[in-house]
């Protein structure tokens, strides 16, 4: 009988198959565990995002639809974060349509450490400002001062100064012409107190009287647009262009008006029929200036506005007092500056 040499292959083969299979299955199991752990860790990470505890709580009240105020808020928040203070954009966080007055009330009842107010301080709000101060809450007013209140600080441009800056733009626009023949319309928010509007007109008239006494003073008219109803703003702006005789120049005193106005001029083919001086700076406005749809714009330094407001509040919270007025610089952006900004971007 033939006999093969001792055959161990049967046992070894089975053993190797067993070992190889087991290793593959263990690897698959490890892969699963790793993948699952990865998913679970990712979820845990999402669920437990880094939360910072803050020492102070300020509330920012301003029209959050406006780019301008959003930029101011961003800078204010940036500054506050450095001092471990949280700035809450109250209108944004509340899902209901509250007026500035309501927001102010909520802020006071929430016992916050400070309130930064960027709206128009009417009589009711002035009362709340006094109440807040009375409750030990620091109040900083931006842009439109509430002089008759006990507010701690006003940060912004003096409306008189701002009027003179705009008047400078009108003078430059119609340089060499008789200003007395020119009509200028100023588009402002209907809730701006009458005094503020008048101050603005006086500042402009003073500018022409002082600087160009022989060329006359243009006819300056205030046009008030109600901003409570967001959708009506654009319609109102268009109505100004369509229904009334176009003035020689128009001045828009907030960013929303500026953008609505230049868009309406383009849409209604009225570019060139009137000159527009805007307020605030963004890419659209810069582009419009470059194309001379907008003659120029006046820009308030949002960074300075936001940061100064927080610094003033901190000073008040820490020491119990602060400067009652912190000025903010204003810059004018004309065609040349706009071109420069576009070039810088490119």
């Amino acid at each position: 009988m033939k006999k093969k040499s001792t055959n161990t292959s049967y046992g070894n083969k089975a053993f190797r198959i067993m070992i190889a299979g087991t290793i593959i299955m263990i690897l698959a199991t490890i892969c699963t565990v790793v993948l699952f752990s990865y998913v679970m860790n990712k979820l845990n990470y999402i669920e437990t995002e880094a939360i910072t505890e803050f020492d102070g709580h300020y509330v920012f009240i301003a029209d959050h639809e406006e780019d301008f105020w959003q930029q101011v808020y961003a800078k204010a928040n940036e500054q506050a974060a450095q001092d471990n203070v949280y700035v809450e954009y109250l209108e944004k966080s509340l899902g209901v349509n509250y007026t500035n007055y309501d927001l102010f009330r909520v802020a006071i009842n929430s016992s916050v450490d400070g309130i930064i107010y960027g709206g128009t301080p009417d009589l009711q709000i002035s009362k709340l400002i006094n109440k807040a101060v009375n409750d030990g809450i620091g109040v900083v007013i931006l842009q439109n001062d509430a002089e008759n209140t006990t507010r701690q600080c006003f940060v912004g441009v003096n409306n008189y100064e701002l009027g003179q800056v705009y008047a400078g733009q009108i003078a430059e626009m119609f340089s060499g012409q008789n200003y007395g023949e020119k009509k200028v319309k100023i588009v402002i928010n209907s809730n701006v107190p009458e005094g503020v509007g008048n101050l603005f007109i006086i500042a402009m008239e003073d500018f022409f009287v002082e600087k160009y006494p022989e060329q006359g003073v243009p006819e300056i008219e205030l046009v008030r647009i109600d901003m409570q109803d967001v959708f009506s703003v654009e319609e109102d702006v268009r109505n100004i262009i369509l229904q009334e005789e176009l003035p020689d120049a128009m001045i828009c005193l907030n960013s929303t008006f500026t953008q609505c106005m230049f868009q309406a001029l383009v849409d209604l083919n009225k570019v060139g029929e009137t000159q527009l001086v805007g307020y605030y700076v963004n890419d659209n406005i810069i582009d419009a200036i470059d194309k001379q749809v907008i003659y120029s714009t006046v820009s308030i330094d949002t960074e300075q506005l936001g940061k100064s407001s927080v610094l003033a509040l901190e000073e008040y919270c820490n020491y119990g007092y602060t400067n009652s007025y912190v000025p903010v610089s204003v810059s004018v952006i004309g065609k040349k500056e706009a071109r420069g900004m576009i070039d810088d971007k490119e």
Partner: protein
């Protein structure tokens, strides 16, 4: 070190029983699949629990809103009717709301919802304080005060409801996005689980298939070998398996069994061959006998007629008182009868000697006493059985080839002696002797090639026949010695037979 461990594990595996191997082979995959399933089940469960938890915060906020309404409503009820039931209801609602507010938290963090919670908590404190003032004013019947504070509380109540609503909304947005993240994670995990389970399942099937095949392969080989063995082919390949499992044991045992079977078969074959050889010898013997008989028949055409004739001759001689003739014819008759009767059976030495005596007598009558015959017989061996017609052919050869044609006096010496277990039957003559080549030819069974004298009148049984029968009878090749010292020095033929009692 690792290699040692491997070989140790391998040897443990090889020595394990099939049951253990199969148990082990199934145990590991099953345990892996089981643990995988448990792991997946736990993870998926925890994820589902998380999904369940997602909207709990919304439920809590809705409850908070309801509790706030309860406070406001119960306060109003109390203000309207100042009943103790309404007051109790108010206290209950106020406590519930206070407890819920405490759970809400008052931390100021970067999480916008936590900030909103803090606002709600602070406003709630003011609200509850106002409500409390209102209740106290009502108790004190200070109508003006409770009217004012209630109006203030209503404003705060609306603010709080709006804040809770806003928070609830915000929470819902976050929860919804978490829900989608969890849901997509769950689907992802489902895909992973199914993929991994399929991989493990497929690998498992492959492993089990290969494993069972590698285990059953020796069995299949064994069954093929068994079929071949059943068909009578013992030259089968059976791999000798290492290890101590049942298959190895069965395979190796089968291998040994086939080996032994083959040995037995070879032994049986040998013994059958021996038997057939023996039968062949017997047949050869018989054929030699037949040959002798045939020659006798050829020589003596009708022995019965011859015996009867010779007996008639003997009686005639007796009636004529010719004693010598009577003896002669009688001897002749006896000689031929013996020839005919004894050829196919054995006989005693005594009878053989007697036959030689008769033969010598006949020859001496024929050749007038030319042959001098001497014998020396050990009587103790006379009864020993030997093949018949052994001595006479040798004596005949001694006469025919030895002393027939010599010039000197011819002698034949018969000597039967015993030496130990051997009996020696010697027939010696002083004739012409033999050449060594002729002796070899005769001993090798080629006696026919030895030249015969022209006047040979043999009775037909040659020396070769005698040697052959003796060899068959004794089973020994060396039964006859032929000794001759050369020409003219005679020849001696010695038969060697073992002595049997």
């Amino acid at each position: 070190m690792i290699k040692n461990n491997n070989s140790r594990i391998e040897s443990v595996w090889n020595n394990a029983s099939i049951q253990k191997k199969l148990m082990f082979s199934f145990f590991i995959p099953i345990m892996l699949i089981l643990s995988m399933n448990i792991y997946i089940y736990i993870n998926v469960n925890s994820m589902i629990a998380r999904i369940d938890q997602i909207y709990v915060s919304n439920v809590t906020l809705s409850e908070l809103s309801d509790q706030l309404s309860n406070v406001q409503v119960s306060t109003r009820e109390y203000l309207e009717n100042k009943g103790s039931t309404a007051l109790a209801k108010y206290y209950e609602a106020e406590q519930d709301y206070r407890d819920s507010i405490q759970d809400l938290g008052n931390n100021l963090t970067s999480n916008s919802m936590a900030v909103m919670q803090k606002n709600i908590t602070r406003q709630s404190e003011k609200y509850l304080s106002l409500i409390n003032e209102t209740i106290q004013a009502k108790r004190g019947r200070n109508v003006e005060k409770y009217r004012t504070t209630y109006e203030q509380s209503e404003v705060l109540y609306m603010d709080l409801q709006n804040c809770i609503y806003s928070l609830n909304n915000e929470q819902f947005k976050v929860n919804a996005s978490s829900y989608y993240v969890l849901l997509s994670s769950l689907k992802y995990m489902e895909t992973i689980s199914i993929t991994i389970l399929v991989i493990i399942g497929v690998v498992n099937i492959i492993v089990i298939y290969l494993l069972t095949r590698s285990m059953t392969y020796p069995l299949i080989e064994l069954s093929h070998a068994a079929n071949e063995v059943a068909d009578g082919n013992f030259e089968v390949d059976i791999a000798e398996l290492d290890g101590n499992d049942e298959i190895s044991v069965v395979s190796n045992a089968f291998s040994q069994m086939v080996e032994r079977l083959q040995l037995y078969i070879e032994e049986i074959r040998d013994s059958m061959k021996r038997e057939s050889d023996l039968k062949e010898h017997e047949l050869v013997m018989e054929s030699r006998m037949k040959e002798v008989e045939l020659r006798n028949l050829q020589a003596q055409i009708n022995p019965h007629f011859l015996f009867n004739t010779l007996n008639a001759g003997a009686q005639l001689a007796m009636m004529e008182d010719a004693d010598k003739t009577t003896d002669f014819i009688q001897n002749m008759a006896d000689f031929f009868r013996y020839n005919l009767k004894k050829i196919n059976m054995d006989t005693s030495i005594e009878e053989e000697v007697s036959l030689v005596d008769k033969y010598i007598y006949i020859l001496n009558v024929r050749f007038t006493g030319e042959i001098h015959y001497d014998k020396q017989v050990d009587e103790s061996v006379l009864k020993l059985r030997i093949p018949s017609m052994v001595l006479q052919p040798i004596v005949e050869n001694a006469v025919n080839y030895g002393i027939r044609n010599i010039d000197w006096e011819g002698h034949i010496y018969l000597n039967i002696s015993r030496d130990g277990d051997m009996v020696y039957l010697s027939v010696k003559d002083n004739g012409i002797g033999m050449k060594q080549e002729d002796i070899e030819l005769i001993k090798n069974g080629q006696a026919s090639e030895v030249p015969k004298p022209s006047n040979s009148d043999s009775n037909g049984v040659g020396l070769a026949n005698v040697i052959e029968r003796l060899q068959i009878f004794t089973g020994n090749e060396d039964v006859v010695d032929i000794i001759s010292e050369g020409e003219g020095k005679g020849t001696e033929v010695v038969i060697k037979i073992p002595f049997v009692e």
